[in-house]
Symmetry: C2
Subunit: 225 residues, 2 copies
């Protein structure tokens, strides 16, 4: 699916477990509020409970599951309130990333970003949704690299997974936002390549804010609040 399976050999068992579980939660094979018992997961993946526990801690860190001491772990529920929380936090952080990326002078990375930009245009003219999506994801990763801010990256990563759950839901509901995205994404990339921090930041914040509002009604309809 749209989650690229990066099954590197350097991934530890807890990390691979976490990845698998994340994907299952994101695409809904493991449903909201479903309980996850350590033994079940362990048996299913053919490992002991030790790495499972670590994997579940990772999921907890990313907000995908809720843990209550001595009671167990449940998949975090989806709601419009949670959705709003994720996007209110994400907006300024993504804006910051774009700004710091723009202020970077790493010409090698910036050339790569331009290449991604061209890929996006191409995917758009060809109507290739999948290519557009993967190029978009790579563009984000490039921006994070350019921003060169491990702390910011850590924070954004801990929002990413929960956000993907809503994004997948929107995808299923055919809430199309690609046309909206290309034009604005292009402008953001231009600003970054032009080393215009202010523009990159505000354009990014506006884009995410628009995506947020686009998805918001559907999320509210589906998950209440």
């Amino acid at each position: 699916m749209f989650l690229q399976r990066t099954q590197k050999f350097s991934l530890s068992i807890p990390e691979s477990l976490a990845e698998s579980l994340e994907e299952e939660i994101i695409v809904g094979r493991i449903k909201s509020e479903e309980r996850l018992t350590e033994e079940m997961v362990a048996e299913r993946y053919g490992v002991s409970r030790s790495p499972v526990r670590e994997a579940l801690r990772l999921l907890e860190r990313d907000g995908l599951v809720i843990r209550e001491a001595r009671r167990g772990i449940w998949v975090a529920p989806l709601s419009q309130k949670d959705f709003d929380e994720v996007y209110t936090c994400r907006t300024p952080l993504e804006g910051l990333a774009a700004r710091q990326a723009a202020l970077s002078r790493d010409d090698v990375l910036k050339k790569e970003l331009r290449a991604v930009q061209r890929e996006l245009e191409e995917a758009q003219t060809n109507g290739d949704v999948r290519s557009f999506f993967t190029a978009d994801v790579r563009g984000s990763l490039m921006i994070y690299k350019l921003a060169d801010n491990r702390t910011l990256r850590r924070l954004l990563q801990s929002l990413e997974k929960q956000m993907l759950r809503y994004r997948f839901h929107a995808y299923e509901q055919n809430v199309d936002m690609i046309k909206l995205s290309l034009e604005d994404t292009t402008r953001i990339f231009d600003a970054i390549l032009a080393c215009n921090g202010d523009a990159a930041q505000s354009l990014t914040e506006n884009l995410i804010h628009q995506i947020w509002q686009n998805m918001r009604d559907e999320v509210g309809r589906s998950f209440g609040n």
Copy 2:
């Protein structure tokens, strides 16, 4: 010992361990880049490695330690770059918290906030540094509660500990910022109590930005970059 205490206050062993280790790292009894082996920690606190591993995961989540797979765990180094990262991220997030707190209509909590405000003034006139500090901390917690945003809270918490390391260092170096703080803090609280989100946000961002700049030189002098 603390085992009984944990039961009484219902803190799990990993959490108490993490708290102890956090404090030791923050005040420098465990130094930057010092290695933490699971066995050492386990022996020291009279527990097995299992809860220690969980505690160390918690520290990793909060950015206090760096973990390299199969190699071990080291206390995260301090540097001006890291300091800048933490504060660039913190600034908009604290601003957001203040804004959302201002937009809250929880009158009970707002009354408590006003009480904290008065405590701050009192501590200021008495020159009671310690009281001022604890009241300030409680004020922050109240703002987070008012903001009623678990995601935002989670992100801020994962920045808090690393920030405290720098803050403690500043405290040791007698970088005084209390006079700076009271006036501005009061204005922030006023804005929140007046339900003025824009003001609360920008005042908060400005205050944190000032604190950042105040500490920055000292941090650079001490930790390089």
